[in-house]
Amino acid sequence: MPAELIPGLPIDVVGPVRAEVFVVTHDGDRPLLTGPDGPQAWHIETAGAEHPLDLVREMVRKNMDGVQLVHSTSWRWDRQAVVLSFLVVIDPAGRGEMAAVPIGRSELARSTAEEAPEHIGNEQVLEHAMRHLAWLDQEDQVVASTLSDAWKTELAGFVPAPFQQLEQR
Protein backbone atom coordinates (compact mmCIF):
# COMPACT_ATOMS: atom_id res chain seq x y z
CA MET A 1 0.00 0.00 0.00
CA PRO A 2 1.54 3.32 -0.99
CA ALA A 3 2.37 5.66 1.83
CA GLU A 4 0.26 8.79 1.91
CA LEU A 5 1.00 11.87 3.91
CA ILE A 6 -1.87 12.86 6.13
CA PRO A 7 -2.53 16.60 5.95
CA GLY A 8 -3.23 18.54 9.10
CA LEU A 9 -1.49 16.25 11.55
CA PRO A 10 0.83 17.89 14.09
CA ILE A 11 3.65 15.55 13.11
CA ASP A 12 4.67 14.08 9.77
CA VAL A 13 3.50 10.51 9.54
CA VAL A 14 2.98 8.15 6.64
CA GLY A 15 1.27 5.36 8.52
CA PRO A 16 -1.71 4.76 10.75
CA VAL A 17 -2.44 6.98 13.73
CA ARG A 18 -4.58 5.97 16.68
CA ALA A 19 -5.85 8.06 19.55
CA GLU A 20 -5.78 6.77 23.10
CA VAL A 21 -7.83 8.74 25.59
CA PHE A 22 -7.62 8.72 29.37
CA VAL A 23 -10.76 10.28 30.85
CA VAL A 24 -10.23 11.54 34.38
CA THR A 25 -12.27 13.35 36.96
CA HIS A 26 -11.95 14.32 40.61
CA ASP A 27 -14.75 13.51 43.04
CA GLY A 28 -13.41 15.82 45.73
CA ASP A 29 -11.60 13.03 47.55
CA ARG A 30 -9.46 11.46 44.86
CA PRO A 31 -8.76 11.47 41.12
CA LEU A 32 -10.57 8.82 39.14
CA LEU A 33 -10.01 7.15 35.79
CA THR A 34 -13.22 6.58 33.90
CA GLY A 35 -14.52 6.57 30.34
CA PRO A 36 -17.19 5.15 28.05
CA ASP A 37 -15.26 1.88 27.90
CA GLY A 38 -14.85 1.84 31.65
CA PRO A 39 -11.76 2.82 33.61
CA GLN A 40 -9.15 2.10 30.97
CA ALA A 41 -7.53 3.60 27.92
CA TRP A 42 -10.21 4.45 25.37
CA HIS A 43 -9.10 3.76 21.81
CA ILE A 44 -10.36 5.83 18.90
CA GLU A 45 -9.55 5.29 15.26
CA THR A 46 -8.48 8.35 13.32
CA ALA A 47 -10.05 8.94 9.96
CA GLY A 48 -6.99 10.25 8.19
CA ALA A 49 -7.67 13.81 7.15
CA GLU A 50 -9.22 14.98 10.40
CA HIS A 51 -6.93 16.52 12.99
CA PRO A 52 -6.69 14.05 15.88
CA LEU A 53 -7.44 16.71 18.47
CA ASP A 54 -10.61 17.73 16.64
CA LEU A 55 -11.63 14.09 16.31
CA VAL A 56 -11.00 13.32 19.97
CA ARG A 57 -12.88 16.44 21.06
CA GLU A 58 -15.82 15.41 18.86
CA MET A 59 -15.83 11.83 20.15
CA VAL A 60 -15.54 12.93 23.76
CA ARG A 61 -18.46 15.33 23.45
CA LYS A 62 -20.48 12.63 21.69
CA ASN A 63 -19.94 10.18 24.54
CA MET A 64 -20.02 12.26 27.73
CA ASP A 65 -20.97 15.53 29.34
CA GLY A 66 -19.03 17.96 31.48
CA VAL A 67 -15.87 18.06 29.39
CA GLN A 68 -13.41 20.56 30.86
CA LEU A 69 -10.08 19.88 29.19
CA VAL A 70 -8.83 17.89 26.20
CA HIS A 71 -5.07 17.80 25.85
CA SER A 72 -2.55 15.65 24.00
CA THR A 73 0.15 14.52 26.41
CA SER A 74 2.42 12.04 24.64
CA TRP A 75 2.95 9.79 21.67
CA ARG A 76 4.52 6.41 21.11
CA TRP A 77 4.80 3.66 18.54
CA ASP A 78 2.66 0.63 19.34
CA ARG A 79 1.21 -2.18 17.28
CA GLN A 80 2.48 -0.66 14.03
CA ALA A 81 0.81 2.69 14.60
CA VAL A 82 1.61 6.07 16.05
CA VAL A 83 -0.48 6.32 19.21
CA LEU A 84 -1.36 9.81 20.36
CA SER A 85 -2.34 9.90 24.02
CA PHE A 86 -4.90 12.38 25.27
CA LEU A 87 -5.95 13.36 28.76
CA VAL A 88 -9.56 14.44 29.08
CA VAL A 89 -10.75 16.05 32.29
CA ILE A 90 -14.48 16.00 32.98
CA ASP A 91 -16.40 17.38 35.93
CA PRO A 92 -17.66 14.79 38.45
CA ALA A 93 -21.27 15.10 37.30
CA GLY A 94 -20.19 14.28 33.75
CA ARG A 95 -19.18 10.78 34.82
CA GLY A 96 -22.78 9.71 35.16
CA GLU A 97 -22.97 5.93 35.18
CA MET A 98 -19.49 5.39 33.80
CA ALA A 99 -17.42 3.05 35.96
CA ALA A 100 -14.32 4.52 37.59
CA VAL A 101 -11.28 3.51 39.60
CA PRO A 102 -8.90 5.63 41.68
CA ILE A 103 -5.78 6.72 39.84
CA GLY A 104 -2.68 5.20 41.38
CA ARG A 105 0.92 6.16 40.96
CA SER A 106 3.42 4.49 38.65
CA GLU A 107 7.05 4.75 37.69
CA LEU A 108 7.54 6.57 34.42
CA ALA A 109 8.82 4.61 31.46
CA ARG A 110 12.44 5.62 30.91
CA SER A 111 14.05 6.05 27.54
CA THR A 112 17.76 6.06 26.90
CA ALA A 113 19.48 8.99 25.26
CA GLU A 114 18.74 7.59 21.81
CA GLU A 115 16.16 4.86 22.19
CA ALA A 116 12.56 4.63 23.27
CA PRO A 117 11.59 2.54 26.29
CA GLU A 118 11.20 -1.14 25.48
CA HIS A 119 7.76 -1.25 27.04
CA ILE A 120 5.30 1.45 28.02
CA GLY A 121 2.26 0.39 30.03
CA ASN A 122 -1.01 2.27 30.18
CA GLU A 123 -0.40 3.13 33.83
CA GLN A 124 2.87 4.77 32.83
CA VAL A 125 1.18 6.74 30.05
CA LEU A 126 -1.39 7.94 32.58
CA GLU A 127 1.31 8.84 35.12
CA HIS A 128 3.04 10.90 32.46
CA ALA A 129 -0.25 12.53 31.53
CA MET A 130 -0.98 13.46 35.13
CA ARG A 131 2.46 15.00 35.47
CA HIS A 132 1.83 16.84 32.23
CA LEU A 133 -1.41 18.16 33.68
CA ALA A 134 0.44 19.26 36.82
CA TRP A 135 2.88 21.16 34.65
CA LEU A 136 0.06 22.77 32.66
CA ASP A 137 -1.62 23.81 35.90
CA GLN A 138 1.51 25.76 36.73
CA GLU A 139 2.21 27.15 33.26
CA ASP A 140 -1.08 27.50 31.40
CA GLN A 141 -3.63 30.05 32.53
CA VAL A 142 -6.53 28.30 30.80
CA VAL A 143 -5.78 25.04 32.55
CA ALA A 144 -5.11 26.76 35.87
CA SER A 145 -8.41 28.59 35.72
CA THR A 146 -10.33 25.45 34.72
CA LEU A 147 -9.13 22.92 37.27
CA SER A 148 -10.88 22.72 40.63
CA ASP A 149 -9.17 23.25 43.96
CA ALA A 150 -9.38 19.49 44.52
CA TRP A 151 -7.44 18.94 41.33
CA LYS A 152 -4.84 21.53 42.27
CA THR A 153 -4.27 19.88 45.63
CA GLU A 154 -4.01 16.49 43.96
CA LEU A 155 -1.62 17.65 41.27
CA ALA A 156 0.76 19.05 43.87
CA GLY A 157 1.80 15.43 44.32
CA PHE A 158 2.48 14.93 40.61
CA VAL A 159 5.79 16.65 40.09
CA PRO A 160 6.48 17.59 36.49
CA ALA A 161 9.81 16.08 35.53
CA PRO A 162 10.47 16.90 31.90
CA PHE A 163 14.22 16.45 32.14
CA GLN A 164 14.31 13.17 33.97
CA GLN A 165 13.17 10.97 31.14
CA LEU A 166 16.71 9.93 30.28
CA GLU A 167 18.35 7.04 32.01
CA GLN A 168 22.09 6.51 32.10
CA ARG A 169 23.47 3.92 29.69
Binding site: P36, G38, W42, I44, E45, A47, L55, M59
Partner: protein, 50 residues
Amino acid sequence: MNYKLACDCGWETEGPEEEIVAATQEHGRQVHNMDVTHDEAMAMATPAHS
Protein backbone atom coordinates in the same frame (compact mmCIF):
# COMPACT_ATOMS: atom_id res chain seq x y z
CA MET B 1 -28.62 -19.17 16.51
CA ASN B 2 -27.18 -16.71 18.97
CA TYR B 3 -23.67 -15.32 18.94
CA LYS B 4 -21.44 -13.54 21.43
CA LEU B 5 -19.13 -10.75 20.43
CA ALA B 6 -16.62 -8.89 22.59
CA CYS B 7 -14.80 -5.72 21.66
CA ASP B 8 -11.17 -5.26 22.75
CA CYS B 9 -12.41 -2.56 25.13
CA GLY B 10 -14.51 -5.03 27.09
CA TRP B 11 -17.89 -4.17 25.59
CA GLU B 12 -19.93 -7.28 24.80
CA THR B 13 -23.09 -8.16 23.00
CA GLU B 14 -25.05 -11.35 22.50
CA GLY B 15 -27.94 -12.28 20.26
CA PRO B 16 -28.91 -13.26 16.73
CA GLU B 17 -26.53 -12.40 13.91
CA GLU B 18 -28.29 -9.29 12.67
CA GLU B 19 -28.64 -7.90 16.18
CA ILE B 20 -25.04 -8.34 17.20
CA VAL B 21 -23.81 -6.96 13.88
CA ALA B 22 -26.00 -3.86 14.23
CA ALA B 23 -24.96 -3.40 17.86
CA THR B 24 -21.31 -3.79 16.99
CA GLN B 25 -21.52 -1.35 14.13
CA GLU B 26 -23.19 1.19 16.41
CA HIS B 27 -20.61 0.64 19.13
CA GLY B 28 -17.79 0.99 16.62
CA ARG B 29 -19.09 4.27 15.24
CA GLN B 30 -20.15 5.78 18.55
CA VAL B 31 -17.20 4.86 20.73
CA HIS B 32 -14.25 4.07 18.47
CA ASN B 33 -14.96 6.03 15.27
CA MET B 34 -14.71 2.75 13.36
CA ASP B 35 -16.80 1.50 10.46
CA VAL B 36 -17.26 -2.22 11.00
CA THR B 37 -18.54 -4.35 8.16
CA HIS B 38 -20.90 -7.27 8.60
CA ASP B 39 -18.09 -9.70 7.82
CA GLU B 40 -15.69 -8.03 10.22
CA ALA B 41 -18.23 -8.22 13.00
CA MET B 42 -19.00 -11.86 12.38
CA ALA B 43 -15.29 -12.66 12.22
CA MET B 44 -15.12 -11.60 15.87
CA ALA B 45 -18.26 -13.48 16.88
CA THR B 46 -18.46 -16.88 18.49
CA PRO B 47 -21.50 -19.12 18.97
CA ALA B 48 -23.26 -18.50 22.25
CA HIS B 49 -23.94 -21.57 24.32
CA SER B 50 -27.00 -20.97 26.41
